[in-house]
């Protein structure tokens, strides 16, 4: 490929205003992963400015003791919005943006596995952002913290609509995140180029592949919790209200079962970014690829079981404290392995101290500090003392800014030439870097000491105690450095986009596939792919006399499973997490019966009959699949229609059961049993209903003859969903209807 001419051609096509006029609308309707990625990044940048200004206001309020610059309520709203926005509308979209842009390129794919789903996932972000911020106009922003602890988040204590908007917005954002995670997994498994075996994946891709699994496991847990919170608030349910038998601690378990893995969801992609940049700017392959790859899996698995360390102050009892302390300490091992690998990659390398590398080095140092204060939080007695102080605020900002934001800023400098065809200014980049490092450390190092001196977090002001004033003032001054850094960054982005130094296809002499195409890449990504035999295909081309050792078998043959099935199975995994949370919540309250209706009032034999219909529908669907594979159209349509009828009968059965309960005065708000019963069976019924809609669409398509020529995989994928809905019902039937009979 003649790099220079193709680059010039594409630059002419993309940077010429006349030729890109039609793109204006195209940006709104695009399903191209590169444009969606840019949209993600721009959305994140917009909200970064919003949440940054919120932080600036908070620091201004805290600059002086006994300050009344902000009303206390406003302060509460600001820290809630700042936290929520930064996590869900800044870091997640920015990470998703990079993944969207780079991951398909790194594996030599033309696009993500499901481009339309990709667009849907992105548009959830602005939609969620608007919902969240609309609360400001609808009676006040939420003022309950980003964790929305019950019962403060319940109607009696937060009666305006802020929390409702917050919960719905996060719910929507969660759906967007899950859809992207499903897409990432299907893309990596099913859309790799010939030769790109799973063992040859670049680390950024591998880590984000692992990360997508955390997303599909834990975001549904949060969404289940949010659904319960909304049922409490809007339908007078009782999940998290202790006064009505609910459990505020249950909310904490659900939230942190999501919330702790969420930290890794945010930081693992940052690990992926530095794992790409450090080798390139050290001119060495990564030290111990296997260890970086495997430790990511270890982190992912461990992250699911350590949430209790956010709850040491709840009073869970010594056994729980002890086990969670141990598992939290363990997570330091795989993380430490990574730090060693990055450091060892740099040792003996020819370091090129350009802006991406500067950010990587800062990342390493800041993240090490964050890790050490993190470990200190696993020590239960220390945690009791520091949990609600600025020590914790300092810790998680070291993770969120010192690690994640620094890695992202480095990655921006690194991949911007690929995205735009132009370099970001190295000079302005250095200004951003130094202002950021100085401002960040000025703001947050001192907060460790403020916390240890006893300054609590989430307070709008503080008395004029010894050292408090100068420490807070210093912290506030630091924020202005960071704000200046952000301004220079925005200026740099704008100027460089139009006037930056032109970049070649592979401006950093990197080795992964995204650098094998033009900058910016053409719509279809690649005209031709280089042979892929190792983890650094471009190194092999540049150094034919000493290529990397071949990884795995020396063949470019790979077998990739069908993307529809992979996508559906992944989606089902996330749905399983959602229902698992609901079932566990049901069981949690089941053991303490409340006055009022109990499971004994349910009509078990009747439900069993309707259940048989549902289970039979799995069988009829299977028959329909067989008929389809034999190309027997009439038989297939018949069995499919029968499936729809059986599903319909089940729904009618459920509906009449609800109707009977309503008539005897039992609804969601009656007692905890009713709340949990209607939530669990209601969500299952909703899924059956959606499955029926899908089946009806398939019936219509089959009627038109769409499946005459095969395309079994789409049909079978829908079947997976239908069978899954039946399997969920097995569990619901056992817990709700059968379990009380055993007592």
């Amino acid at each position: 490929m003649n790099g220079t001419t193709t680059t010039a051609m594409f630059r002419a096509a993309i940077l010429d205003p006349a030729k890109r006029a039609h793109y204006r609308l195209a940006w709104l309707s695009t399903v191209d992963h590169k444009r969606i990625a840019v949209l993600y990044l721009l959305t994140a940048l917009f909200f970064f400015v919003v949440a940054g200004v919120e932080a600036l206001f908070m620091r201004l309020q805290l600059a002086l003791p006994n300050n009344h610059f902000l009303h206390p309520d406003t302060f509460n709203q600001l820290f809630t919005m700042h936290g929520t926005t930064m996590i869900f509308l800044v870091v997640m979209p920015v990470v998703f943006g990079f993944v969207n842009y780079v991951l398909p390129l790194q594996i030599g794919a033309r696009d993500m596995a499901f481009p339309r789903l990709n667009a849907f996932g992105f548009w959830c972000v602005p939609f969620g952002g608007i919902l969240l911020h609309f609360s400001v106009l609808a009676g006040g922003a939420p003022a309950v913290g980003w964790f929305a602890y019950a019962p403060l988040s319940e109607t009696p204590y937060s009666s305006n609509l802020g929390v409702d908007y917050w919960a719905i917005a996060i719910f929507v954002l969660g759906i967007g995140s899950i859809s992207l995670a499903v897409n990432i997994i299907a893309t990596v498994i099913s859309c790799r180029a010939p030769g790109m075996t799973m063992r040859r994946l670049p680390l950024f891709t591998w880590i984000n592949f692992v990360n997508a699994f955390i997303i599909i496991f834990v975001l549904p847990v949060l969404n289940a919790g949010l659904a319960m919170l909304l049922i409490d608030r809007l339908l007078e349910g009782h999940f998290f209200l202790p006064a009505r038998g609910g459990s505020a601690v249950l909310w904490q378990h659900i939230f942190w079962a999501f919330g702790h893995p969420e930290v890794y969801i945010l930081v693992l992609p940052a690990f992926g970014m530095v794992s790409e940049m450090i080798p390139v700017f050290s001119r060495k392959p990564i030290f111990g690829y296997q260890f970086v790859a495997a430790s990511s899996v270890a982190i992912a698995v461990l992250s699911l079981g350590v949430w209790g360390h956010h709850m040491f102050t709840v009073g869970m009892g010594r056994p729980l404290d002890l086990f969670f302390a141990i598992s939290s300490l363990l997570i330091a091992i795989p993380t430490g392995v990574k730090v060693l690998n990055w450091s060892a990659t740099m040792i003996g390398g020819r370091l090129r101290l350009q802006v991406p590398m500067l950010f990587c080095i800062a990342f390493l140092i800041q993240f090490l500090c964050a890790g050490i204060t993190g470990i200190s939080h696993a020590v239960v007695p220390l945690d009791w003392q520091t949990k609600n102080s600025y020590y914790l605020v300092a810790h998680f900002h070291f993770v969120a800014v010192g690690a994640i934001v620094f890695a992202v800023l480095g990655a921006l400098q690194y991949w911007f030439p690929k995205m735009s065809g132009r370099f970001l200014s190295e000079r302005l980049g250095r200004w951003t870097f130094w202002l950021m490092v100085i401002g960040f450390n000025m703001t947050f190092i001192i907060q460790h000491f403020l916390g240890l001196l006893g300054m609590p977090r989430r307070v709008f002001t503080y008395p004029d105690l010894p050292h408090f004033t100068w420490m807070n003032m210093l912290s506030t001054i630091g924020v202005f450095f960071m704000a200046a850094a952000a301004l220079i960054l925005v200026w740099n982005l704008v100027v460089s986009f139009f006037k930056g130094k032109l970049a070649t296809d592979n401006p950093w002499n990197a080795w992964t596939l995204e650098w094998a195409t033009t900058s910016p890449p053409p719509h279809e990504n690649f005209h031709a792919l280089p042979p892929i035999r190792s983890r650094r295909p471009l190194w092999d081309i540049a150094n034919p006399d000493r290529p990397d050792p071949i990884v795995g078998e020396n063949s470019s043959a790979i077998t990739v499973p069908d993307k529809n099935k992979v996508g559906m199975l992944t989606f089902i995994l996330s749905e399983a997490g959602f229902f698992m949370t609901l079932v566990l919540a049901y069981l949690f309250f089941y053991v303490h019966p409340q006055p009022g209706p109990t499971p004994k009032e349910l009509d078990v034999p009747r439900t069993l009959i309707f259940s048989v219909c549902l289970f039979a529908s799995s069988f009829t669907f299977w028959r329909s699949e067989i008929a389809m594979s034999k190309r027997q159209r009439v038989s297939m349509l018949g069995w499919l229609a029968f499936t729809v009828v059986l599903g319909g009968i089940f729904l009618v059965g459920q509906g009449t059961e609800y109707w009977k309960l309503f008539k005897t005065g039992v609804d969601v708000s009656t007692n905890l049993f009713a709340t949990t019963f209607f939530t669990l069976t209601g969500f299952h019924g909703l899924h059956v209903l959606l499955g029926l809609v899908a089946l009806l669409i398939f019936l219509w398509l089959a009627w038109r003859g769409d499946f005459a020529s095969g395309r079994e995989s789409a049909f079978e994928s829908a079947g997976y969903y239908w069978h899954f809905v039946d399997v969920v019902w097995v569990f619901v039937l056992l817990t709700v209807y059968i379990l009380p009979l055993l007592r």
């Binding site: 498994i189 495997a294 270890a298 056994p319 053991v591």
Partner: protein, 258 residues
Amino acid sequence: MTTYQFLTTAWEWNPTLLLICSLAIVGYFLAFGLRGQPAYFVGALAILLLALVSPLSALADGYLFSAHMVQHILLVLIVPALSLLSLPRSLSLPRSRATFTHPLIGWVAGVGAMWLWHAPALCNAATTLKAVSVIQTISLLLMGSVFWWQVLAPRDADRLSPLAGIVYLFTACTACSILGIILTFAPVSVCPAYQQPVDRLGILDVIRGRWGLTSERDQQIGGLLMWVPMCLIYLAAILAQLARWQSDPSAHPEKSHA
């Protein structure tokens, strides 16, 4: 009785068990000689004895649910895993491979061993009736072996491909964690036999007083053992799968997703 006295005296050297263990050692060397990994086999038997004759067994026998849980984990995860590792690499099952070596059977056996024996009725029966306890021990060893066969079978061809093995182990880990979570937070006793132990050895005062293990706390520790350390065993196995995948050039990672 003090803790020290208890730890030194509460060994129940069951002659039948010792005979079985001796026969197993003799049988192992007759069958495989030194072709396998005898160290693993000796380790497996040592841990079997630890689980069944040591003070741990005395505690599990009616006193402490958490001790029962340790015993349970040793019998279902550690002993079968070490036994499989001790076999020579060339060994294959003689016949009917399809029945016991289907991954789904293995998975159900491994997860079922946890769920089934913690149904209150069965857990109680195993604690109070000696015969049920013997059946439980044997079934745990068997189910554990069927479970581990998928990842630790002597011949590589009998094992799941590494990435499929990770899925297998991770889902099993999740299924057992859920049970662990339920046991940890269940406010009612899962195994009522442990609530009011018959104080055969006169150590109840030590357990409740010196060790501070009330029956609630005991069950909580039992649940946590299943939730956290057991998952660490699965995690170790997952990492071993990754190591196998990354080191073995003849592995076919692509096969795993098919």
